[in-house]
C-alpha cells in the first residue's frame, strides 16, 4: 500500500522526539484498551442477540473497530520499542500503516456511536463524513468533534437516569475526549503524550468497571 511521504517524515520526527520507554507505556495502554474494547463489543453483541436492538449491534461493531484499531497501534508501539536501537524505513512504514488503519477504524467507530445517539431521520447525514486521514492533527480534530457530541449525550444521559453505570460511561467518554485533546497539544510538550495515554487508560478502566457492575449477578 503506497502512502504520501509527508507523514513518514512527520513520523520520523516524532520518533526522535519521543523517548523509547514511552512506546512501552503506550503499547501497554493500547493492549489494555483493546482488551476492554473487545469485552464491551462481545457483551454488547450478546445483549443484541437477546434484545435484537439495532443500536446494540452498532455499539458492538463500534467497540470491535476500536479494539482492532488499538491492535494495530499496540503492535506498532511494541515493535518500535523492541527495535528502538535500529529504527529503519520499515519501522516508519509499519507505524505509518498502523496509524492510518487506526485513524479510519476509530473514526468509523465514533461515527457509529454518534449514529446511535441521533434521531433515525438524521443518521444518513453522517455517512458523508470522510474517514481517511493521513495527518494526525486532522484525525484528532475530527475525533474530537465526534467525541464532544458523544460526551455531551452521555452527560445528558447521566443527568437523566442518574445511575453509577451511566456515570462511568460518561466519565469514560470524557477521558477519551481528553486523550485526543492532549495528543493535539503534544507540540507544546512531549510529556503530554504520557498524560494523554493516562487519560485513555483511565477512560477504558471506567468502561471495564461499568461492565463488571452490569455483568455481576
Amino acid at each position: 500500500m503506497a502512502f504520501d511521504l509527508t507523514p513518514i517524515l512527520q513520523q520520523s520526527q516524532v520518533f526522535s522526539l519521543i523517548p523509547e520507554w514511552f512506546y512501552l507505556y503506550s503499547g501497554l495502554v493500547y493492549l489494555l484498551s483493546l482488551a476492554i474494547s473487545f469485552l464491551v463489543s462481545y457483551f454488547s453483541f450478546r445483549l443484541y442477540r437477546i434484545s435484537s436492538s439495532r443500536k446494540q449491534s452498532l455499539l458492538a461493531v463500534a467497540f470491535l473497530l476500536i479494539g482492532i484499531g488499538f491492535t494495530f497501534l499496540s503492535a506498532a508501539s511494541f515493535y518500535t520499542y523492541e527495535n528502538s536501537k535500529s529504527l529503519d524505513q520499515s519501522a516508519f512504514d509499519l507505524n505509518n500503516n498502523a496509524y492510518s488503519m487506526y485513524y479510519v477504524l476509530t473514526l468509523a467507530a465514533y461515527l457509529f456511536i454518534v449514529m446511535i445517539n441521533l434521531p433515525k431521520k438524521d443518521e444518513k447525514l453522517f455517512l458523508i463524513v470522510p474517514l481517511w486521514f493521513i495527518n494526525s492533527s486532522q484525525f484528532h480534530l475530527t475525533a474530537l468533534l465526534f467525541l464532544i457530541y458523544i460526551s455531551a449525550r452521555s452527560v445528558f444521559n447521566f443527568f437523566k437516569v442518574k445511575t453509577e453505570d451511566a456515570f462511568l460511561v460518561m466519565f469514560a467518554f470524557l477521558m477519551i475526549t481528553l486523550f485526543h485533546v492532549f495528543l493535539l497539544l503534544m507540540p507544546f510538550g512531549i510529556e503530554l503524550y504520557l498524560v494523554a495515554h493516562t487519560f485513555l487508560i483511565v477512560g477504558f478502566l471506567s468502561l471495564l468497571a461499568m461492565l463488571i457492575r452490569v455483568t455481576r449477578k
Binding site: I50, S51, S52, K55, T163, A166, M210
Partner: protein, 91 residues
C-alpha cells in the same frame, strides 16, 4: 413522552410478573400486571411457551409456571436494560 414497549420488554414484563408471584401465575394476574389485551397476552404467552420460557399447567385452574430458561432470560434482560441505560440507548 411515554416510550412504546418493544416485544422483548413485554416478554420480560410477563415473565417478571410470573416470577414475582412465586414462579406461577394465572392468566388474569398476568393480564392486569402486564397491561395487555387478552388477545395480545395470548399471543405473547404462546410465544413464551413455544420457546420454553413458560410452562402451561392445567389442574383445577390453568396457570403458567416460569422455567429455568425463563429465569435466565429475566436475568439477561436486566443486564441488557442496565447496559443500554448506561449508554443512553433505548431498546
Amino acid at each position: 413522552m411515554i416510550e412504546r414497549r418493544t416485544k422483548a420488554d413485554i416478554l420480560f414484563d410477563i415473565l417478571r410478573i410470573v416470577q414475582q408471584n412465586d414462579g406461577k401465575a394465572k392468566t388474569t394476574k398476568i393480564l392486569y400486571g402486564a397491561n395487555l389485551s387478552y388477545s395480545r397476552l395470548k399471543q405473547h404467552v404462546n410465544y413464551l411457551i413455544e420457546n420454553g420460557f413458560l410452562q402451561k399447567v392445567q389442574k383445577e385452574a390453568t396457570y403458567f409456571v416460569i422455567t429455568d430458561k425463563g429465569l435466565l432470560f429475566i436475568n439477561e434482560f436486566r443486564k441488557v436494560k442496565r447496559f443500554s441505560e448506561a449508554f443512553g440507548i433505548s431498546i
